[in-house]
Subunit: 227 residues, 8 copies
């Protein structure tokens, strides 16, 4: 049995069992998915991680959770559009490295893009945003081609038909992480159309994460960047 | 009651009821969907239409049907890749008009494209084919832009993620009829991915027909062209 | 590279990248999908287009957006049932041309029909509405047959089983753009039943747009009409 | 406990348990769904019912089963298109009563229609067939309106978009049993489009059976007719 | 053209086209689906039908609509659980005939059952209700067997797995109209489980209407009863 | 006919038909699914069961129902997180037996776990909870392995990809009842991802109940425990 | 780390990694899913398990695999209808214990039932089969009630609407493992209708395994039986 | 316009338009998806790429295509299990770099794994295979943990419930590309269960490609490796 598992420390809060070796095993501490969590429990989990000297990222933080967390942890960083909360560890952070560019097809994809940006920043990566370059006006994308080619990883966020990752991946040699969004109506089925489109990309070098999962895209992009 | 309905002539073959006023009402005679039809019945229907002085188009004609039809109607035109059969009426045809361009994303989309081409030709339209200009190699499409802009209607045929109609419609001012194909595997679900993608096109001016329905795309394109 | 792409002008608002050559490339300026957009951003986008001398159409405009837009742009035209906003360019408009008829199966389909009507009018087309002629009372439709046959394009809007486009397309020679609506309950699945019905129309000459997409139907109809 | 259940007789063949009181309880003996049944077992079941003095209907009978059954029971009636087998009881049959009309949208719907016709005939009902009157050529249907209105029950069989039952039910006052068929391709999804269409009929007085279930339609139609 | 269609009278209210010959053609006047209709329009439609001497049934009437309608038409009959409104014609009604029994699997199916009961009563049929006899306690159903067998038609309403129509149809010889309801959670998918179950009933003599469509079940049951 | 069915007692409340022999037949009295039930009816049903000397369990009890029930039956036990209500019969209860452990993948699965715990306790079983041991931090699960192996039955509750039951079942020899939850977003489709995952478990010895059905899992686990 | 994992023995065949401690951990050796496996590989895996002194069960064995296996292992037991292969370990088997009854709704469900029977027998359990007692002829089931109540566990196998497990579970106090089968056509969707029905059973005490998974049902039933 | 697009060379074969700058833009030449392509066309495309001095990879090559290609290009490398064909360019290849490990849950996932291995090798990457370490026997995986942690990228291939990528990603800090396979039956729906499971992974750092898309996984893994 590898030693990482044997000495694994957890803190049992009764309703939650905090994994304190996640950072050691996987490169980043356990992240809190705040959706539907009670404010009290949320604060307990954040405190536990913080006390253990780990940075603490929470995603899908709503207004009430956000207010409560900020009043308890006034030094935390909140991203309102992306609904993230980030309380860095008290250790001196390393300067950011690498270069992840987040690209969106439309304006309505911005909340997902900002979740990705905040996540990657918490993970110590340099980020850029290129918004609203969807395929209906192709010249907007082509004008950004030189920037796109200088990224280490591209996160491409799109709803509706989700065609942007295919077009981008046909123009660059860097890996593309595609994020379908629930933007659209009718037969977009809350992101199914975009998800299926991205899974069937005719351009190679594309991998896909869950609908609206800006966080997940940034996680794998950061792991790639830390190689 | 409009007179077209009152004097409507049909021929009742028992198993089929041939609509002889379809051409008068809708601009083109009844078309035969050959899938699963017995060879004998097929020949009876073709004969009925031909005797009534109408052109007769059949689609989805398999090898056996094709051989039998051709031996009975040696003057008919068969399109092997698109699996169509066309027996013109004995009247002197008008010279073709207009200009429909059929565009495909890949090589595997060609059978559907050829069904569209043969249908439009039977309907008296000039046609062109631009094959294999999918978005994974965008320059292939951009190199054809001047030709695309000179069409009256574009029929854009694509499988997998079906992104091509969105990209094309963002570059031209002519109407785009999008045809999803069942090309792909896994999460393409025999054309669902492409169909949903096309229905959710972020570019405006796109309408969609059934999966693999090259015939239907040519029908509406021809009606547009005859305006 | 065609010159249209090279000299393409965009205005980068940070959260949105306005495509000022859309009208040149595609025949009509960029249209705003207002769903979920902040009022401030909306006003910025409308101003940008208006300042550039372009007409500005917005769809899916809610009450709050509508009030804010109208107080900023008092000369704009609002369509309450169809939830559209239209700010014409300051150029003298050409007189409307052509003839698009929008047909609905039922009363509940009217919001989608009005989105189509307002869009087509903004695009400079003459329009008519024939409401509530669904197939449960066929004589209502047959009584309108002469009008239907004089249109250049028909937009047929229906929910539930979506049978109306098939019936109409079997009676006329003009192209039919079918719009499924989310009207219905239970196994209508917010418009899937109508959408699938229309994609499988046994009458030829029908193409389909997304569920509730009156805007999209009017776009392609207008492109057809401008041929 | 009602006496019908207490004295219920069954014959246990090991692999099958024949229900000899079905006719008493439900008005018609147990019917054999032949799909995938071994020829030997099939013959045993038919013999058991016949010996018990009951008529025996089998559906979905394939070529091999058909040949074997006919050689064992030479007096049986086979319907090739509808794939049914009917061995009447040796009792003198009552003369048929009532009037069920089976209507089809197209030629490809005929196998399902013939399954319905053979079933209703076995159940002692007079039947008629009106084939190929789909909505793409509405005059074909309207020409049959007087006949349709004289039926006791209508069975309306259609694939593709399945619009015919809605149109028929809007024209008559008799009950309509709708049968979706798997005729079509692409987004017809083996009959889903027609099934959903029929369940969402805007005309009232329509009830639906399973896809391709001509047998089931005839069962309920016959029960209605025996009232 | 049959004369019924030629002299068909409609009243065009602009937003609605009232079909005044529906009763003549189909046996009952046009029925109003109130969902989402404005109160003003609703009152106009009811008035139009009433003025024409026809009974007027509305379904899916919400609280606000209900209050407004009742204050305008104080003689109307409202069914709160089933959400129906019924304004009889001023003609002397015939005494009710026949016997439709509505059976429910559970208590939560009652709103759908009451829609069916009110509809059948408006159509002039005698009705009975047998509630909460689902298959989890089979003796509750078996105790009602004699009553069930004396009905002319059974309407069987069930959610969750929707097994009740199969069990009932195996015990009786009268036709069974099955109504799936959206009662359930998780993998019931708002009635899909029950709908699919009923379409695949192993007992014959079952036909199905849309999910929660008590109205539709009563329509066809009434047509059967009027035979 | 077995005697249990013949002498079966029910109480007919009009809107509900209480099954008083459920405990005798199935081992536990009828349980009330409170979702959508009126408070008055709920109290009537509870009273009927209580008067008959039976314990009464209700699930999915909302705040208002909960308050009303507790004021009427002050001795009842309420579980707020699991939303259950339990009024024991006045008979002296037997001491609890057996050992069911409920395991959750995450914190958000706790409401479903508590429904299972309260149900099993009402059925007279000893229970334990092991929360938040999902597969992203495997050591949390492995640290509990000895406890898991001493259970009689394991109820494993998980949302998202629902991998936990497979991993657990590969480590123990006791039966595993898997409960998918609606925890997740995007392509989790309210629990479909977890449900399909559990149905396709590569480890044997897993059976599955409906999404979020903690009650159902405890029912079968208790039946297993009472063997 | 628990010792069971540390000393876990595996045999690496390159293409397969045989788990020799499965029996120790989970109570029964690793079972081979033969679908699509090459005959050579199959024989290697069986030999590996047999040499290690373990019994070896294979499921979904086709004709060719079956012949090859039997010629190599002439003492194995093959079940043709259920398509299983069973090579007992050379140790003296314990006499079978317990009592699992497998119940089927129809004749076509027998292959799945036989897979369950052979699996349970290999696991050392006494088994019985009650075939063809579906709900269309309820008396067939009620006549078996006393037997059903004496089982330790019931495995209930049904296709089409899958109603049988609900009806059975409402009559007995033993746990019911429900197996949906792919028997049916049209809207049965290869077992989805039955699967959804069983997941939504209104009777409590039912858990479900994958479609056609007789093996999986027997696994959990055997684990229950070994408690 | 970036110069890469302006000077882009294509070869137009009529039925296919070979993209000769794919390698320059995206890092690897155009790859041929052989499914359904005629042998003649396939050879023409391979020749075109080879003549242009590019390596040529084809996937999904069937037996007939394979034989024809090998007789024309005897120096090519064929991978039978993974169905790939690889004709290196005549240039001296660089020595392979990096380290991609392909991990499978079961034996049946091997064809997809071999497609990934062959693709990555063609792209110049060192590869390893760890087969059959699915979660039903967790110790098999844990025994490989040290190897897994030394990879640059992991490609994790699994069918059925697809749990393996979640478990692996919770144990390592390298990026995980998850490949769902169509291995399974019943409710696995040809890979949907695994696909949804992987998209909803509770462990972060996972991105997903299409079902059975070993090629696509290797493409993005190689792009990551070339960073």
């Amino acid at each position: 049995m590898p030693s990482h598992l044997e000495d694994a420390a957890t803190v049992d809060l009764g309703f939650a069992r905090i994994d304190l070796t996640r950072k050691h095993r996987c490169g980043f501490p356990e992240v809190i998915y705040a959706e539907g969590k009670a404010v009290d429990g949320l604060i307990q989990i954040v405190s536990t991680l913080h006390t253990a000297g780990q940075g603490c990222l929470a995603t899908r933080v709503n207004e009430a959770q956000s207010a409560a967390l900020l009043s308890t942890f006034p030094h935390a960083v909140q991203e309102r559009i992306g609904r993230t909360f980030w309380l860095p560890s008290s250790n001196q952070p390393s300067p950011p490295t690498g270069n992840i560019i987040v690209v969106t097809a439309g304006t309505a994809d911005l909340p997902v893009a900002h979740e990705a940006l905040a996540t990657a920043q918490a993970m110590g990566i340099n980020t850029e945003l290129i918004a609203d370059v969807g395929v209906a006006g192709l010249h907007r994308l082509l004008a950004q081609l030189d920037r796109l080619r200088q990224a280490d990883v591209l996160i491409v966020v799109a709803g509706m038909e989700g065609a942007l990752p295919s077009v981008v991946a046909g123009l660059v040699s860097v890996p593309v992480i595609a994020v379908p969004t629930s933007v659209g109506y009718g037969a977009s089925y809350q992101g199914i159309a975009a998800l299926l489109g991205m899974l069937n990309s005719c351009a190679s070098g594309v991998a896909v994460v869950n609908i609206d999962n800006g966080f997940g895209a940034a996680c794998i992009a950061s792991k790639i960047n830390h190689l």
